[in-house]
């Protein structure tokens, strides 16, 4: 049992060691402070946080409807919500392009009406990441809501609280730990997003090039830079996961 557990853990640890073995420690400061890395880091942080915010704003009500109401075709809706988890992100990105690209189903009328162009823009990055990451939030929050006795919300409403007040003062605080876990999962998925982003938003440095995309490019041209950027991602991700570990585990 323990031997297998150690082998299991090594699946996670060995690639990390491989990465660390190639870190150009001497040039690290210079590499990670280059314009390319700073641009990509800023975009990655902003787009992943924006995607998390949008996922929360839209995903919590979606999770609430899924957990609290009965309707026909619920299993189909659930499958649609889960789809981005299973689908290759590239396919998601392509689908977004057909829907919201300049010539897309919705993209064309949107462009004509407002002049807005989503693909190959920073908002395109946010959209692509949201598409891929939001299911984590919906699933986590829906599970938590299912475990929350609806009588708490009923009691709050008899005490005079309207629907939004109930959500803010009772529902969200009571599912707090699960919500936080969902936020972290969503953010982590958004932060590491690659396939849908490169397909829908392209790979323009300073505009749509996130950290994962920068790594992908650098692997071809400047291996030291690729390793340095990868290290930045590992450090940020580990820092977030460790900082939230207590609440995280309790929620699960």
């Amino acid at each position: 049992m323990l031997a297998l557990a150690i082998i299991g853990l090594s699946v996670f640890v060995i690639p990390l060691l491989g990465l660390l073995s190639r870190v150009p420690w001497g040039d690290l400061g210079e590499l990670v402070s280059s314009d390319l890395v700073i641009d990509a880091l800023r975009l990655s942080l902003l787009s992943s946080l924006a995607a998390t915010a949008i996922s929360t704003l839209l995903g919590v009500p979606l999770a609430w409807v899924m957990a609290r109401t009965e309707f026909r075709g619920r299993s189909i809706v659930r499958a649609l919500i889960m789809l981005p988890l299973v689908l290759p992100p590239v396919v998601g990105g392509a689908a977004l392009l057909f829907a919201l690209g300049r010539r897309g189903l919705l993209g064309e009328p949107l462009n004509q009406a407002t002049g807005l162009v989503l693909p190959y823009s920073a908002w395109g990055v946010v959209l692509a990441t949201t598409f891929v990451a939001m299911p984590f939030l919906v699933i986590t929050v829906e599970g938590a809501l299912r475990n929350l006795d609806p009588r708490f919300e009923g009691a709050a409403s008899t005490l005079g609280a309207g629907r939004w007040s109930v959500m803010r003062r009772v529902t969200l605080p009571m599912i707090g730990p699960s919500l936080l876990a969902g936020l972290v999962l969503t953010w982590a998925r958004a932060f590491g997003e690659f396939g849908a982003t490169i397909t829908f938003a392209g790979n323009l440095q300073g505009k749509t090039q996130t950290l994962p995309l920068a790594v992908f490019v650098a692997l071809e041209s400047n291996r030291d830079a690729a390793v340095a950027i990868s290290l930045v991602m590992v450090v940020i991700s580990l820092a977030v996961l460790i900082a939230l570990r207590d609440r995280w585990w309790r929620a699960w």
Partner: protein
């Protein structure tokens, strides 16, 4: 309380269809200052009644009026959501918000009614004082005893100054000793609430002790309405006879003997001292024409005051020395040639007598 609502109270007559097989059909009027119990077994539709009155579900037909306001009217497609009803609910198991302190739980209602934080906390403090919860203000519900949680739930419901107070099984989550204490306290708190009160319970003695009128509900329908004596002495269905038809007496216990007026009853429990409530099921009382052999220690001769037939059973009333209802089969009526005025012997085994401590001073203790 507005003067209008104090005249009108609750008037409800509605149906709610929960499934193709189950429809709740309820009609009741509760004047202000009066307590009505909705008494029935699990699955009788009691929770549905609470949900409909509180506005958590809509009625399918009929209407609900409270204090002159229409809460729900299926015919006119009017439905007032729960947050606008001013119906105070003490939920089964209390449903206190676990993430809020006692004070915040009680202030929740006032805060929801657009009261500022400070006045809401003052209102909460007032109710904590009235229900002796001052010391618990900063506790979380998880740190409360059952009796304390029940008082917090009551304070939370009363703090919105409701037009109707609904109590859904307010005592069933408590252990037996706390239940007797809480029941006494609840009697006093109910008396201070000026509006109509509806008590939902499956426990007949709770209904008898707390309510002025009792509506018995079975399978979604009210099968009998009356006060405690009418329900107990003249049960109209076998269910009521079984469940609600117990003899209920109060006396003083000392060393295995309960003194009820001039009569002493032997009980199995020798540890109980002081005021007690006694329940004796009518079917556990044995009836004989002559003095029976054997060692039953609760034995006396009396005469039958009344005989009522109920299906294949009969209920007999005796009044001397204790007012009791005795249940026998119809065959026994014929076999023993029983008639009104007939002299009979009654015996009750000590082990068949239900005894529960009662606390006249409970309010002071709690």
């Amino acid at each position: 309380m507005t003067s209008v609502s104090s005249q009108l109270g609750l008037e409800a007559s509605f149906t709610v269809r929960r499934s193709p097989e189950f429809t709740l059909d309820l009609s009741m009027a509760i004047p202000p200052g009066r307590t009505v119990a909705l008494l029935g077994p699990n699955g009788a539709g009691k929770s549905t009644a609470v949900a409909a009155l509180a506005g958590l579900i809509q009625v399918d037909s009929g209407r609900i009026e409270l204090g002159g306001r229409t809460l729900d009217d299926a015919g006119q497609a009017r439905f007032l959501p729960p947050e606008e009803r001013r119906v105070g609910v003490v939920f089964q198991d209390y449903v206190l918000f676990p993430h809020l302190s006692v004070a915040e739980n009680i202030a929740f209602g006032p805060r929801s009614h657009r009261m500022g934080r400070e006045p809401a906390m003052e209102r909460a403090a007032l109710w904590m004082k009235r229900l002796s919860l001052d010391d618990l203000a900063q506790r979380k519900p998880g740190e409360l005893s059952g009796g304390q949680a029940q008082r917090v739930a009551l304070a939370r419901a009363l703090a919105i100054e409701p037009d109707l107070l609904l109590l859904d099984e307010p005592l069933s989550a408590l252990d037996i000793v706390t239940r007797a204490l809480s029941r006494r306290a609840l009697t006093e708190h109910l008396a201070q609430f000026p509006g109509p009160r509806l008590l939902i319970t499956h426990d007949p003695s709770e209904a008898f002790l707390l309510a002025d009128d009792i509506h018995v509900i079975e399978g979604g329908r009210v099968t009998q309405v009356g006060n405690a004596d009418e329900i107990r002495l003249r049960p109209r269905t076998p269910y009521i006879a079984d469940l609600a038809g117990s003899n209920l007496l109060s006396g003083i216990a000392h060393d295995g003997l309960v003194q009820i007026g001039a009569t002493g009853l032997r009980i199995a429990d020798h540890t109980l001292e002081g005021p007690v409530l006694i329940t004796i099921h009518p079917r556990t009382i044995s009836l004989h024409r002559g003095r029976p052999e054997g060692s039953a220690r609760n034995l006396w001769e009396t005469s039958i005051a009344l005989i009522e037939l109920l299906g294949d059973r009969a209920r007999l009333q005796v009044s001397d020395p204790l007012a009791l209802t005795v249940e026998v089969t119809r065959e026994a009526i014929d076999d023993l040639e029983l008639d009104t005025g007939a002299r009979v012997w009654l015996s009750i085994k000590a082990t068949e007598i239900g005894v529960e401590a009662d606390y006249p001073g409970a309010y002071a203790i709690s």
